[in-house]
């Protein structure tokens, strides 16, 4: 598992599941699992902006970018790549 993926998953487990990792799949939908609601998305965005130094634009607040560990990781990788940073 990449370091980026570990950090994203650790945040989700710690912040939304209060440390109780139930083994959800990396491509499982946060929404369908009831892990994240619209307030949770804002928390996730705050985490990504602070920990990875990226800026999440309004039009990027979509399930395609933010609804699973794997989609979040891909999104962050694209943002870091576009800004010339590495994870």
């Amino acid at each position: 598992m990449s370091e980026l993926k570990k950090r994203v998953r650790a945040f989700v487990v710690s912040n939304f599941l209060l440390g109780d990792d139930n083994g959800f799949a990396e491509d499982a939908s946060f929404l369908e699992l009831g892990i994240i609601d619209s307030t949770g998305v804002l928390e996730l965005v705050a985490f990504l902006q602070q920990d990875f130094g990226i800026r999440v634009e309004d039009q990027e607040l979509t399930p395609d970018n933010l609804d699973s560990v794997s989609s979040v990781v891909s999104f962050v990788e694209r943002k870091l790549s576009a800004s010339g940073q590495n994870s």
Binding site: G34, S38, T39, V45, A46, Q59, L61
Partner: protein
């Protein structure tokens, strides 16, 4: 008569429905709640006006007590319209301006400090409101922005980070909770029950403040779609000026429609989408009836389902670790 799906499915026999609700109000007060009348906060909106009219029809005006609870940011219409409703139905009322209570709990300071996180020049001379990203074209997560207007009329719109969003909502919820506290003061004093005034959209979609406007002993119109409430309003003789007023939250200093803050499409379209969702109507038929696209109807339904899930917490009573079965069924 055509079988084509249309808004007509929401047509009701207003007299029969009023009679049914009134009978239930009397039954619940006498046999379940054991209270002698109803206290109701009057906002000048259609829902509280219809609830008050039904309570008067059920119990007589002497057993209904109205509260007018504006604060300094309330629309000037609020007091005038709610007073007119009270006069129309012969209800005794008391005016309880909650501005000083909001000052005492630090609402205005907390609210302004939170908005200054994102609009540093914001102060008490500015006006503001929250607006939602949700609309029928948007397929992303719902997020909120503050819209602020300077004294010179300049408008600023900024997306809210989650801490600031929560601060603003938490502070603003003081308004609904203080009003409910006053309603229960008068309910206790009169040995009355408190009526909540949500319509079906608000109740189903969690558009209320827990222990604020969501708190009540009886919610007489929570099963009715908004357009059905307008039908009752006409039958019950709610003043026309109230029936013609667009739905508003009357919560922020800038005027704010419910569909700007919470609902993804205007209430009259959402009404029919919700009915269709509840009755398994095909999206194509709903699209024709609402003049939305089929994709937009699907997005509205997704939003309905999502709000049901995410606002479940608002409906839940306090959760116990173990049952206390002795008090059930009394």
């Amino acid at each position: 008569m055509s079988d084509k799906f249309s808004r007509d499915v929401l047509k009701i026999d207003a007299e029969a429905e009023s009679d049914r609700i009134c009978a239930r109000i009397r039954e619940l007060l006498a046999h379940t709640l054991h209270r002698r009348g109803i206290v109701i906060g009057l906002s000048g909106g259609i829902d509280s006006s219809v609830t008050a009219a039904l309570a008067v029809r059920a119990l007589g005006a002497k057993r209904v007590f109205g509260l007018l609870m504006p604060e300094r940011e309330s629309s000037p219409d609020t007091l005038q319209l709610s007073g007119e409703v009270a006069r129309s139905f012969g209800i005794d009322t008391v005016l309880a301006d909650i501005t000083q209570m909001l000052e005492a709990v630090g609402f205005y300071q907390s609210y302004q400090a939170a908005v200054r996180n994102v609009v540093p020049e914001f102060n008490s001379q500015w006006k503001s409101k929250l607006v939602s990203s949700g609309h029928d074209e948007w397929n992303g997560f719902t997020f909120f922005s503050v819209v602020a207007q300077s004294p010179s009329g300049e408008m600023v719109r900024v997306r809210l980070p989650h801490r600031t969003y929560l601060e603003i909502v938490a502070a603003t919820n003081f308004k609904q909770r203080i009003r409910k506290m006053i309603e229960y003061y008068h309910a206790d004093r009169l040995h009355f029950a408190v009526a909540g005034t949500p319509n079906r959209l608000e109740y189903d979609q969690g558009f209320f403040v827990k222990n604020g406007d969501g708190s009540a002993d009886i919610k007489p119109i929570a099963h009715l779609y908004k357009s059905q409430i307008y039908q009752l309003a006409e039958f019950l003789g709610v003043p026309e000026i109230v029936r013609k007023r667009p739905p508003t939250t009357d919560t922020y200093s800038l005027g704010q429609g419910q569909d700007e803050f919470y609902f993804s499409v205007p209430v009259e379209q959402l009404d029919i989408c919700l009915y269709a969702r509840n009755h398994g109507i095909a999206a194509e038929e709903v699209a024709q009836a609402t003049h939305l696209t089929t994709d937009a109807v699907q997005r509205v339904w997704q939003d309905i389902d999502r709000k049901r899930r995410t606002t479940r917490y608002l409906h839940l009573p306090p959760q116990l670790v173990s049952d206390v079965s002795e008090i059930e069924g009394l």
